[in-house]
Amino acid sequence: MTAYLLKRLIIALATLVLASMVVFAVLEIIPGDPARLMLGLNASADQVEVLRNQMGLNAPLALRYLHWAGGLLSLDFGRSYTYSVPVIDLVRERVVVSLPLALIALALSTIIAIPVGLYSASRRGQAGDTIAMGATQFGVAVPNFWFALMLIYLFAVWLRLVPAGGFPGWSAGVWPALKSLLLPSVALALPQAAILARVARSALIEVLNEDYIRTARAKGLPYRAVLWRHALRNAMIPVLTILGLQFAFLLAGTIIIENVFYLPGLGRLVFQAITQRDLIVVESVVMLLVAAVIAVNLIVDLSYAVVDPRLRSRQ
């Protein structure tokens, strides 16, 4: 178990270091000068040079990488070029929107997907299964921003139950803030739930064909108990894998959803920073996201061991 954990940790750290190099190099290669972007069309070349010096953009590339990567180690993410405030402050303001959004979406997609998967698998080939799988096919095919727009027109414009977008801030109260995250998280969750439900169904069907399920049924265990205690638990590994991957997709999906609902989240921050060539913000936030995805995958790896005792005892 310890060796398993150690191996996973080393892989995670190596991935982080490699990612930091790739992220930095890629962003330095793409054309565009943040100083020129800030000063616009009427500023002279000399003035752009003055600003570049003030922003520290004229230092050598390797030096800037070491400075940035060194800062990351001590959790110093540098200062934004455009906002001229510490990146960590920007991140802290934004993460309180994006993280709850992603987590609610993840929870929603799981809550929807597992029962649908169970239902479909247990009624394989029947009308209910066909309808449920038709619906998930639809969910997989339709992009989340279209769901978002439909939800806005239904619940915000027509029924006026929730705001059409924007985020009042947690200081405005938990309920108003949650209310503004409701539609975005549903829009994010639906396509993910559809994928997850299909995976859960096929994993369950495979498990239900196993001999031990027949044995369990033969010894007189009720069907429901077999499904929950034996089948679902053994079908968890592929479901967990997809769930881990989905977390990364959800973080990426927030970029689009945050634009449709004009939520001030991390996705918007990155998007805006890319167009303004606020490279230090892009680099630092991307690294944070990389770290988050790696951490989630680590947790998923460890949870395999929880659901599958064989992985625990091995080695």
Partner: protein, 492 residues
């Protein structure tokens, strides 16, 4: 009994009067498409900075009015010497910055000297280039001496980049702007909104609104539901393509006004074959402006024939200079020795006028034998490749700075255009302050640009504003990129 009725009627009247005065709203939520990078108008070119702060939080010596006119602002009056080189500004007294410090002549000297200093990062430093020295005569009088007469000096001082700042707060304006305007800054929730509130110690006419929130809505598709649900009550700069969704709704007013945005097909004048006049003229003949406006701007926008807004008082209509004429265009290409046509690239920045207009222009130029390869670029790439390195053949962009015909005389500008006769006119224009003389020179300048077919002149970008029908006082036109809220109020 009669008395009783009278009392009742009077009470009802009083109640009606009091509720109606309560009913008039004093708050407003305005949607803006882009978030300002920071809140200091004197340190960045982003239009979004002025869209929040100009005239609301910051004021200058002069200001630009709703129709592009120069109005007195912090300077209540001025006198100009006969040689046009000395300006004496008389300032309003009793003016305070929002942090409570006094505004006086020292602040004027500080602001102007700061903007033109060697280490200045003012995006429009050129506005101050003519200033030789700024002297404080007394706390309410400032003397500005110019190196040479400059006809546009008072206009220049009305730009957002020339607003007055205080030495105590200038360095922190990016995060916490402190000006002299009728609104003061309250809060900025990054990525979400910026809130201004009424300033209690304002020197001029107080504003009707108590609170104005600028909410950032980057996506045009999100703007429509935000309006329909009532979350946001005004979008002064609305996406032309979305107008159809709200224009028949009586709850809203759709106001189409003019801007200073000349949308042009920029041509690299030094790069063969575009260095040949016939080729550039052929392009101008090949363009069908009506089709371009219909396709790129939902039919909104006024065609132009040179680099001047049709709303400008010195505008000369040159749209008939190159009528849409495919045969003529082919003939000119033949004269230039290119009867078999040629290939070129068209780099398109992100705005929809460029991306949509580019496709139409590419098909129009294909009709005369010019085969364009469309290359979409981001703004950062556009600034780098096209604007700075001049690595392009053709591009589409809207030049939104007001009165900017002088860009064609700038050395090393990305058009690569060089015409001494044009430069001479601009030099004369800079020195002229007589209105009639300026009008004549500006007319000549427009004519030369059209004759030389320097670029393909397309149309003036429209300002499409959509707001609640009960809202009054928002600008119809955009002589500068601003959302002046000083006259905005709700009717009941």
């Amino acid at each position: 009994m009669k008395l009783w009725k009278t009392i009742l009627a009077a009470a009802a009247l009083a109640l009606a009067a009091s509720t109606s005065s309560f009913a008039a709203r004093t708050d407003l939520v305005i949607g803006i498409p882009l978030e300002p990078p920071h809140l200091d108008p004197t340190a960045g070119a982003a239009a979004a900075i002025d869209e929040v702060l100009y005239a609301n939080v910051f004021e200058g010596l002069t200001r630009i009015g709703p129709n592009g006119e120069v109005l007195p602002d912090l300077a209540e009056s001025w006198a100009i010497s006969d040689d046009g080189k000395v300006y004496i500004f008389k300032l309003h007294t009793g003016v305070k910055f929002h942090d409570g410090t006094d505004f006086n002549a020292d602040d004027v000297k500080f602001s102007l000297d700061r903007a033109r200093a060697d280490n200045s990062v003012n995006a429009q430093k050129g506005l101050f280039a003519a200033i030789d020295k700024v002297e404080v005569v007394d706390p309410a009088t400032v003397k500005v001496t110019l190196k040479n007469p400059q006809g546009s000096f008072l206009y220049n001082m009305g730009w957002g980049d020339a607003v007055m700042v205080a030495p105590e707060s200038a360095d922190t304006n990016k995060e916490k702007p402190v000006g002299t305007g009728p609104f003061k800054f309250q809060s900025w929730a990054k990525g979400s909104s910026i809130t201004l509130v009424k300033s209690d110690n304002y020197w001029g006419t107080p504003v009707a609104l108590d609170k104005a929130e600028f909410r950032i809505v980057p996506d045009a598709a999100a703007a429509v539901p935000a309006l329909l649900s009532g979350d946001i009550q005004a979008f002064p700069f609305f996406d032309p393509d979305s107008v159809a969704q709200v224009k028949d709704d009586p709850r809203f007013k759709v106001v189409i006004g003019s801007t200073e945005g000349e949308t042009i097909l920029s041509i690299n004048n030094k790069k063969p074959p575009f260095d040949k006049l016939q080729v550039r003229q052929a392009i101008s003949y090949a363009l069908d402006r009506k089709a371009i406006i219909d396709g790129a701007s939902a039919g909104l926008g006024v065609p132009i024939g040179s680099h001047m807004s049709p709303a400008n008082k010195d505008y000369v209509d040159l749209t008939g200079h190159y009528p849409h004429d495919v045969a003529k265009a082919k003939e000119l290409l033949k004269e230039a020795g290119l009867e078999n046509g040629f290939k070129a690239t068209l780099k398109l920045p992100p705005p929809s006028y460029a991306r949509l207009g580019g496709e139409i222009i590419a098909s129009e130029l294909r009709d005369v034998g010019i085969d364009l390869e469309i290359i979409p670029v981001e703004w950062a790439q556009w600034l780098d490749q096209v604007f700075t390195k001049k690595d392009y053949d053709l591009t589409i962009v809207s030049h939104t700075e007001p009165n900017d015909i002088d860009i064609y005389s700038r050395k090393d500008y990305y058009f690569n255009y060089d015409n001494p006769a044009f430069d001479k006119i601009i030099a004369d224009l800079n020195l002229a302050s007589d209105e009639a003389k300026r009008k004549e020179l500006l007319g000549q300048a427009q004519k030369i640009l059209a004759d030389d077919a320097v670029v393909g002149f397309l149309y003036e970008l429209p300002k499409v504003g959509v707001w609640d029908a009960k809202l009054q006082g928002l600008w119809e036109n955009a002589p500068i990129q601003a959302n002046d809220l000083t006259k905005v109020k709700w009717s009941d």
